[in-house]
Each structure stands twice: as C-alpha cells, then as structure tokens.
C-alpha cells in the first residue's frame, strides 16, 4: 500500500510517501526553503503552508519515484495544533483525495509521534513507556498496543523544552535554548547550586517546571561570577535539575508499570547528558533514543501511521474536521 502523508499542525509543512511500512521520501518545508533560499529560513505558517503544500507533495512524489495515480490513500494530521494551519492541510488532502478518488484518513499528531519510534527502531516491541519531551510536551505514556495508551503523567505548567528555553533567556542565551544550555554547561559543575526538582510528592508521575524557572530567576538576581563559581556552573546545575526530574519520573514509571523498554521522543531527547543519566540510572532497562529526524514534526510518521491504521481495517469517511485540542487518550 502507498500512503501520502501531510502534516501542517504548527509552523512546519511536510509531506511524505510511505510504502509497505518503508518511508520512500519525507520533505519538510524548512529544508525546502533552506535549499531554495540559500540558508535563510523565513517564518513558515498557514498562508505559507498553502503555498508550500503543492510544491512539497510534488517534491515527495518526485523523490520517491511514485506517480500521483499510484497513491492508495492520503493520511493527514487533524490535531492537536493550530486550527488555521491544520485546516489548510486537511482541505488540501481532501481535495487531492477527491480528485484521485482515494480515501483520506485523519491522523492524531501525538499518536504519530509515538509510532515514529517504530520507524526509528523496527525492533521495538510492546509494551513500552514513552517519554514525550519537547518544547510543547512533557508526557509519560504507557503504550500497550495500537489504540491502548495510558497517560501516566504530564506537566502541570511548563514543558521541559520550555524550561530550557526560558532558562536560556535568563542566562542571556538565544532560542531554542536546549542545545545552547547543553553547550554552555559543558565543563561546568552541576553541583554548584541545588535548584528545586518539581517532583510533586513521592509517587507522583506529574511534572512541574515553573518553580524551577522562578527559582533561577531569583538566584540570578544576586549572582556574580567568582573564582569558585562561574556562570557555566550555574547553567550546568540548572540543566541537572531538569534532567534529574525527567530521570526520576521515568524510574517511577518503570517501577509502576514493570515494563522493560522505554523510549525517549521529542527534541529534548537530543540532550546527551539526559541520555547518559538515564542509561546509568536504569541499567537493566532497554532505552531507545530515536533519531532526531523522527522526533521533530514530520509527515513520515503521519504516512506511516496512516498505513498501519488502514491495514488494521479502520474505516473512515471524508467528513472530518480539524481538532485543535485533540488528545491521545
């Protein structure tokens, strides 16, 4: 089966072709712009989505060597995301599906992120715990099989990626803050200052990062570099507070569910210190870190999940609309 996937839930537009579980092509707007405009990446958005979709779909077909009339179905993101940009993608997908006389399947963006882990590592097996940790999400999921997902915990305020971004701002670094904080923290002493961990009680699987951000803000009010404590020590300490919280929650989730595999998805998964701390804290657990290209917003995961759903015999009709607040379970 050949499925075209379309993603436009936020400020990136993407198209991909999946055939029998293999991704033949996957194009994301920023890459396209990057090559066409020689390195300048303008803000991409709904009106931009509109201009780009046609181009992206053509690009994905060309790259995969698939002809338009060979596509069996179209999968498109219906939510969660921005109503305006989602609508652009859905309208385009429906129009193309009607023209080609093929079905169009609504896909949940969060569910696609979870299934992207199978794309990244085909040896992954159920059940597993997935920590989805990015600029927009901090969630712990128990994944037992398709359509059987349990939310174990999520953040009550800021996402972990946001804690990095806002911390970076306080330190005078730019956006996005994660990679910059990681770089600056190198060689710093992570024990220089103890920032609070938002652990929310002994057994809770919920997260909270806003107290940490405020605590950093107050600390930096009176902070002056000295011979014994440098700014990089504080950055390292701040990073450690975020990582310790994520690792502790993951440990609790493993204990609670008794699963043997966990997956770290989302942009924050790229943090090397997080990887090392998890691996040393959970030596008996198989920990997977999917390649970053599968963690960021892309259409490969949309086409892949679309094909899985179609093969599972899920039926659909064309009269679905946008679901900006769609949940996973």
């Amino acid at each position: 089966m050949i499925v075209l996937g379309i993603e436009s839930s936020c400020d990136e537009t993407a198209a991909a072709i999946c055939r029998n579980g293999k991704i033949l092509s996957s194009v994301v707007s920023s890459q396209l712009i990057h090559s066409k405009f020689g390195g300048v990446i303008p803000e991409i958005a709904s009106r931009e989505h509109e201009k780009l979709l046609n181009q992206l779909v053509h690009e994905s077909l060309e790259e995969s060597g698939i002809k338009k009339d060979e596509i069996d179905a179209i999968a498109v993101t219906v939510g969660p995301g921005l109503a305006g940009t989602l609508l652009t993608g859905i309208s385009f997908a429906k129009g193309l599906a009607l023209g080609l006389d093929i079905p169009v399947l609504p896909v949940n963006h969060l569910e696609a992120h979870i299934f992207a882990n199978f794309l990244a590592d085909p040896s992954l097996e159920y059940p597993f715990v997935c920590l989805l940790v990015s600029g927009g999400h901090t969630q712990l999921w128990l994944i037992e099989k398709m359509n059987h997902y349990t939310l174990l915990g999520e953040t009550r305020d800021d996402a972990a990626g946001e804690a990095f971004d806002k911390g970076a701002r306080i330190f005078g670094l730019s956006y996005p803050g994660g990679p910059l904080i990681e770089e600056e923290a190198k060689g710093g002493n992570p024990k220089a200052h103890h920032f609070p961990r938002g652990l929310m009680g002994k057994e809770s699987l919920e997260f909270s990062f806003s107290g940490l951000k405020t605590s950093l803000l107050y600390f930096m009010d009176n902070f002056q570099e000295s011979d014994s404590v440098k700014k990089r020590d504080i950055i390292a300490s701040y990073q450690k507070a975020i990582i310790d919280t994520l690792v502790e929650k993951m440990k609790r989730a493993i204990q609670k569910t008794n699963v043997k595999t966990c997956v770290i998805a989302g942009g924050v998964a790229a943090n090397k210190s997080l990887r090392e701390t998890l691996e040393s804290s959970l030596p008996t657990i198989r920990i997977l870190f999917p390649d970053l290209s599968y963690c960021t917003d892309n259409a490969a995961m949309i086409s892949y999940l679309g094909e899985l759903k179609a093969n599972a015999g899920e039926s659909w009709s064309i009269d679905f609309g946008v679901k900006p607040n769609l949940k996973l379970a």
Binding site: E43, R47, L82, E154, P324
Partner: protein
C-alpha cells in the same frame, strides 16, 4: 489602576475578579518579563470561566483554545515570534476579534503593532525587596481609567 499582589493566590484572585468585569470579545495584552505572573494570571482567569483543564503557556504551539462558560478563552503566547506579521501568518487575526471568547496574549508587546485599538493592557513586574511581590498595572479598561 495598579494592583499589588503578594502571592500567586492573590494574582489568581485578581485574575478572577478581572475576568468577571471585562466584556466578551475583549483582547487582553499581558506584558512582563519571565516569572512576573502572566501564566499564573491566565490560570486564575481560566478558572473563573470554569475551565478545568491545565493551563500552561503555549510557547511552542502558540495558541491554546479552551471551552469555558459564559464564553471561551484563547490563550496566546507570542514569546517565540518576531513580530505581528508572524502572528498573522499563522491565521492569528481570528484571535484579535474573538467571537464568544476573550483572548489573552502573553508577550503581547512583540506583536503590538497589530493589536486592536481597544486592547486592555496588563503590565506585570516584580517588586524590589519582596520575592513574591508582583505589581500589575491595568490600562485600557474604561471603567477603571
């Protein structure tokens, strides 16, 4: 009008009272640095509309829409945008003329050139010598001018 808050609870109580006073269709600009209470305010505001969901700042997804009573809430975070054009590019204009809703915009100063003329402004700042103290300056709400 200037409101002095000594705790997150007080900021939320202020938000609750504020929510009861402003008309449906209002656009409220929340301006202030990190950790000055913009999200805390929004949480109190949402509670006042009977919204049970968790309210965090939508820095990454830019807009959160909540169903409330007697009207809905659009919560916008302009933090990672560069200017008003960026906001219009994601179809943002529908949130500047909210129907059956009120729009709260964090970091609204970034997109100030496209805010409607009747926007209500709340400026948040910290109070020297009182770590939990916050000053909120209200501008643009007629009854209180």
């Amino acid at each position: 009008m200037i409101f002095e808050s000594n705790s997150m609870d007080e900021t939320q109580t202020f938000a609750h009272q504020f929510a009861q006073q402003i008309p449906v269709g209002s656009v409220v600009a929340l301006i202030g640095n990190l950790g000055t209470g913009k999200t805390t305010f929004t949480q109190g505001f949402a509670k006042s509309l009977g919204i049970e969901e968790r309210v965090g700042s939508p820095t990454f997804k830019l807009v959160s829409e909540y169903e409330g009573s007697p009207h809905n809430l659009y919560h916008i975070d302009a933090y990672r945008l560069d200017n008003g054009l960026d906001f219009l590019n994601i179809g943002g204009e529908v949130f500047l003329i909210p129907k059956e809703a009120v729009t709260l915009i964090e970091w609204a100063d970034i997109i100030k050139e496209i805010l409607p003329p009747n926007t209500i402004y709340l400026t948040f700042s910290r109070v020297d010598g009182n770590p939990n103290g916050r000053r909120i300056i209200l501008d643009g709400l007629n009854e209180n001018d």
